[in-house]
């Protein structure tokens, strides 16, 4: 027996065997032996999504984006592919969120709250949500600023609320005057509308703030999975977000008070004597709300580390 | 002397400047020719080479490599390699340079008697060695 040949033979056989095993393992890993599961995700924008972007479930990659396309309405259809063995994590009530963390590449996160829910059929289409935090916070600040502008606008010297209040004063003045009832009756259609309009605006403002507060709650929850450093930038951001929420709640309750007062103002026409006092109170309350809201914007700009300059318009 | 090196292709030369392949045994050195020139199989080629060594009476050097051989053994291997080329002329170029440990005219004559080769052997040597060839 040739020892040299035996050794080379052994080496070759072992290498080929290992190569073969690795090849089979690789084919298995790449899903050659199983079906692929396809899923379409509908999104408003393909920003940040590209072929190869991973789809992760509980932090583990289970599939990836294959192609991007558009439908007739200009919406984006993202085609994703999963291995058959990973398709079980996709349920009918799963949510798909596009994550664009500050560190690392974009990825699509799958959340399946109920793993006993019916499985998603092959080739179905789901909605892709965006949780782009770095984008949303400046937007939020903008929105708060807009609200503040509104409040400011409403409460400025010659603003609507002032005018309304003046109207109310006139109306009540007239009503208490000599020709009170008649003038009041004559002027009432337009003037009553003005009052209700400004009241509606205040209500809309309050709903806005409500929505904002809800959003903040959602964002605080979302930041949870975005955070990976104990005291990194993200942690501070979450704290500021929590604070923002508190402040917004504050502003909201102030404005609610204003709303109640405005409602009172409508009744003023009926109850003339208490009118003047209430209106004075209303002014004070609205001023308070404006002050709190601008403090809030200052705070957001200060805490949010990516705001470019701390310029805030104060009323 | 250059004249010997410039001999035509149909001459098989045994010369100092045509050494054996150093990392091959004597047998393999001879077997190269049937193996790569005539495309015999490895076993067949080795058998032919061994037969050639047997014929020259040096079967025992088959597994020796060039550095392990005595000058005479080296010469025999080179000669076997030249014979197995089967060319019509065989020229031994200055045998004294290769066979410095034996009385070489007699040694070559003895090999020639064993080889039973067709064709002629020619020996080129310095004229002052001519006396050595006289018997």
């Amino acid at each position: 027996m040739n020892k040299l040949h035996f050794k080379v033979g052994l080496f070759t056989a072992a290498s080929l065997l290992l190569a073969g095993v690795f090849l089979v393992y690789l084919l298995h890993a790449r899903g050659f032996f199983e079906d692929t599961f396809h899923l379409q995700l509908a999104a408003a924008s393909a920003d940040g999504v590209a072929p190869g972007v991973p789809v992760v479930f509980s932090g583990i990659e289970i599939g990836r984006v294959t192609t991007l396309g558009m439908n007739e309405e200009g919406g984006i259809i993202i085609h994703t592919e999963f291995l058959g063995r990973n398709a079980k994590w996709l349920k009918e009530n799963s949510t798909f969120t596009l994550d664009k963390p500050i560190v690392g590449g974009a990825r699509i996160r799958v959340d399946s709250p109920d793993l006993y829910a019916p499985a998603l059929p092959d080739n179905s289409t789901m909605l892709l949500l965006t949780s782009d935090i770095s984008k949303e916070i400046p937007l939020l600040v903008e929105r708060v600023k807009a609200i503040l502008d509104n409040v400011e606008h409403l409460t400025r010297k010659d603003g609507e609320i002032n005018a309304t209040l003046a109207n109310v004063q006139t109306v009540t003045g007239r009503m208490t005057g000599e020709y009170g009832m008649l003038e009041s009756l004559l002027g009432s259609p337009e003037k009553a509308r003005a009052v209700t309009d400004s009241l509606d605006k205040t209500r809309a403002l309050i709903t806005n703030l409500d929505g904002l507060a809800l959003k903040m709650d959602g964002m605080a929850a979302k930041t949870d999975q975005w955070l990976f450093a104990q005291d990194g930038v993200a942690e501070q951001t979450r704290e500021s977000l929590a604070q923002v929420r508190l402040m917004l709640n504050d502003a909201q309750s102030s404005l609610k008070k204003a709303d109640a007062l405005m409602t009172n103002a409508v009744e003023i026409s009926a109850d003339v004597k208490e009118g003047t006092q209430d209106i004075a109170k209303l002014r004070a309350e609205i001023d308070d709300a404006v002050r709190k809201a601008s403090a809030l914007v200052n705070e957001i700009n200060k805490k949010w580390p990516f705001a470019r300059d701390p310029e805030v318009k104060l009323p | 002397m250059a004249a010997v090196a410039d001999l035509p292709d149909d001459v098989a030369r045994v010369a100092l400047d045509l050494p054996l392949r150093a990392n091959l045994s004597a047998l393999d050195n001879i077997a190269l020719i049937p193996l790569y020139q005539r495309h015999y199989g490895a076993v067949e080629s080795t058998q032919q080479a061994q037969a050639m060594l047997d014929q020259l009476g040096h079967a025992d050097i088959a597994l020796l490599r060039d550095p392990d051989m005595t000058p005479a053994q080296r010469f025999v291997t080179k000669l076997a390699r030249a014979i197995i080329l089967k060319r019509p002329r065989l020229v031994i170029d200055r045998p004294g340079a290769m066979l410095y440990d034996v009385p070489y005219p007699a040694f070559i004559r003895q090999l020639a008697a064993q080889a039973e080769m067709t064709g002629t052997w020619e020996i080129f040597d310095f004229s002052w060695n001519q006396a050595l060839y006289q018997e």
Partner: protein
């Protein structure tokens, strides 16, 4: 002026020299390739020489090589893992390990290993064959040395580098798993996923081609450098020196080109 002219001339001479070397190498490679296509090449004798070459290039050093791979892989994996942990990027650690080790570092080190051990030996041997007239003797016998001296070395080099780099890569994958997940099967799923993500068809083919080119470089260049040796014994070290420099440049060039193709 004179200085300028001489420097331009020396530059020209260098460039011509490089082209001559490159041309020599490619004609040699073309000859070897043509011989590969020849049916008479594929006989038992050639096979035996190839087996011998594979033995000397790969099998003989297998235990040393695997030990060295083990140490290098363990070190690199540990460094990458701890760095990734410090920066909070553990999720990328396994992918990084595989990319750095299996795709780049281990093939490169394998090529260097073979170049230092077998490449230099081949260069010396061919240079000595040339200086000792052994090649002339073979030419006189009308036995072309390509088939039983050079071609088997080229094949042996390619086979050895591809196989050794593959074995080292598999060992590194195993080491990576053990270092990241320990002796449990829990990480098998994610690790498989990472491997599947990295090793697509293009990468696999690229890796094998790269290793084959490494194998060719560490044998072809020494052979041609040896054949260039002037017939003077003292030129053998010079020939080996030149050959090994070229091998080193070729290995680096192959690595750089492969990286450029992969990431640019």
């Amino acid at each position: 002026m004179n200085f300028l002219a001489t420097s331009i001339e020396s530059l020209g001479a260098k460039v011509v020299g490089w082209f001559t070397v490159g041309y020599g190498m490619f004609t040699f490679l073309a000859k070897a390739g043509l011989l590969l296509l020849d049916r008479t090449t594929w006989n038992r004798a050639t096979f035996d020489v190839v087996v011998k070459q594979v033995y000397f290039t790969a099998v003989q050093i297998l235990h040393v090589f695997l030990g060295y791979t083990l140490v290098i892989s363990w070190l690199i994996i540990t460094i990458i893992l701890s760095t990734a942990r410090d920066f909070g990027l553990t999720e990328f650690a396994s992918e990084m390990t595989i990319r750095v080790l299996v795709l780049e570092l281990l093939p490169f080190l394998t090529a260097l290993f073979i170049a230092l051990r077998s490449g230099s030996a081949i260069n010396t041997e061919v240079a000595l064959m040339q200086v000792n007239n052994e090649l002339d003797a073979l030419a006189h016998c009308k036995v072309p040395p390509m088939q039983f001296e050079f071609l088997p070395r080229l094949i042996g080099g390619v086979v050895s580098v591809v196989t050794l780099a593959g074995l080292a890569g598999l060992l590194a994958l195993l080491m990576g798993y053990l270092t990241i997940y320990g002796m449990s099967t829990a990480g098998f799923g994610p690790y498989t996923q990472t491997i599947a993500k990295i090793f697509d068809f293009k990468i696999m083919v690229g890796l094998i081609v790269k290793c084959a080119l490494f194998g060719l470089a560490v044998t072809l260049i020494p052979v041609t450098a040896g054949l260039e040796t002037p017939k003077k014994l003292f030129m053998v070290p010079v020939s080996v020196l030149r050959g090994m420099m070229r091998v080193f440049f070729a290995i680096v060039a192959i690595e750089v080109v492969s990286l450029a193709l992969k990431y640019i």
